[in-house]
Amino acid sequence: MSAERITFWYGCNVLRHGDIIHTCLDILRALGYDPAPVGGPDYCCGTVKDVNQTTAGGMATRTVGRLNERGARVVAWCPSCHSHMHDFMERANDRHFDMTYLVELLHARRAELAHLLRQPVPMRVMLHQHVGFNELVPVNRMVPELLALIPGVEVLEAGYTAPGYMCASFTAVPKALDDIHANTVRAAKAAGADAVVTVFHQCYRELVGLDAAGAVPVHNYIQVFARSMGLPYEDDYKKWKRAGEITDPERIAKVGIEFYERAVLPELKKRPNLR
């Protein structure tokens, strides 16, 4: 029987984390799928364009059209894309594909997934959880159940749930993000966690600053899967964040020194405001 073709719609901002995209693809292939990854600005859902609904509507129509043309089930990685499809895109466009969020797919296939998670990862972890998206896909229940499949992983009940549907939505409310950072570190320490594990890459991008600042180690759940599967991908983003820069001049040359210094370096140097 041939593998089911799926479109792996990873989103935009996860392109900061190539290791996450590569691991997702390896997992999907190991579960018997034939995934075609698509994402980036050309597949943007339009959710970032609240300031211009003409543009947002055009982006939504273009992206739904492109996903329709692929003629395969869509598996989404990004919670923003998935919820924007549910809330707006499919209600203003004709969607001709089935759609699943990756966590739902992995949870449905957890018996097979467990066979891939062979290497022990001795770690007591606290799940960094939000409200909001959890009402669409119960990730706050499903991800701990998936992490518990990994030998050595213990998921602790820390009793802290952050407001908002993900950390990146707090860029306009910095005081609230400061509170999330402080409460996350406090809850992880109180629970005795070795590390904080995020569901969404948008939270990982923000919380990895806690790791870089030495407050608490932070991982995305897919990265913990990668360790247990013995996958070799390096977390470049964490490496750069810890260093506060990219040290390889050839890599910097790929994006140009001027753009790197103006638009990339400040993000890598940014640290949480821990009070």
């Binding site: 935009c12 901002n13 392109l15 900061r16 984390h17 190539g18 995209i21 990854p37 698509v38 994402g39 980036g40 600005p41 050309d42 597949y43 943007c44 970032v48 364009k49 609240d50 300031v51 211009n52 609904q53 003409t54 543009t55 947002a56 509507g57 055009g58 939504a60 129509t61 919820s83 809330d87 707006f88 209600r91 203003a92 466009n93 939000h130 409200v131 909001g132 009402e135 407001p163 908002g164 549907y165 939505s169 707090f170 860029t171 306009a172 409310v173 005081k175 609230a176 470049d236 990219i246 890599r251 790929k254 994006v255 753009f259 790197y260 103006r262 638009a263 990339v264 993000e267």
Partner: protein, 142 residues
């Protein structure tokens, strides 16, 4: 006469239907504001949700919102705690999302809150893609 669809037209029509539904269903009881975990971060917090929600509905109608309403709209991060709190099934998360789009000027009405502009948003994504993916992956995946 051109038969080409107007860009974004169906999205705008859907949004207007949602606004009409919300304006017809909301009783301005204020429960959505009272349970909101983000209200404490508003620049103009209020003690009573009944004093805030009418300003949100005014924004949806294209009118000027009150400082309390605009302060709340500006800090909404889609927690969704308001949804089960609403006794009329209005879907206050959608109400706030549409109010935010409107207040930011996204629906063609005058801007009432300032957007946080990031002129490098998509270029930064493209840059990280170049840093993380091979040339073939960039060609085939993005």
């Amino acid at each position: 006469m051109s038969t080409r669809p107007v860009i974004g037209q169906r999205l705008k029509e859907f949004q207007q239907r949602e606004i009409d539904r919300i304006l017809g269903a909301c009783t301005q009881c204020g429960k959505c504001y009272e349970v909101c975990p983000m209200a404490q971060y508003s620049k103009a917090p209020a003690k009573d949700g009944k004093a805030v929600v009418p300003g949100v509905l005014a924004v949806l109608r294209g009118e000027q919102g009150s400082p309390e309403a605009l302060g709340w709209i500006a800090v909404c991060t889609r927690s969704g705690v308001c949804v089960p709190a609403c006794p009329e099934n209005v879907d206050p998360k959608m109400m706030m999302r549409l109010a935010r789009m409107t207040a930011l000027g996204g629906r063609g009405l005058p801007k009432q809150i300032e957007p946080k502009e990031d002129r490098d948003y998509f270029d930064r994504i493209r840059a990280f893609a170049k840093l993380q993916l091979t040339d073939d992956e960039l060609k085939d995946w993005t």
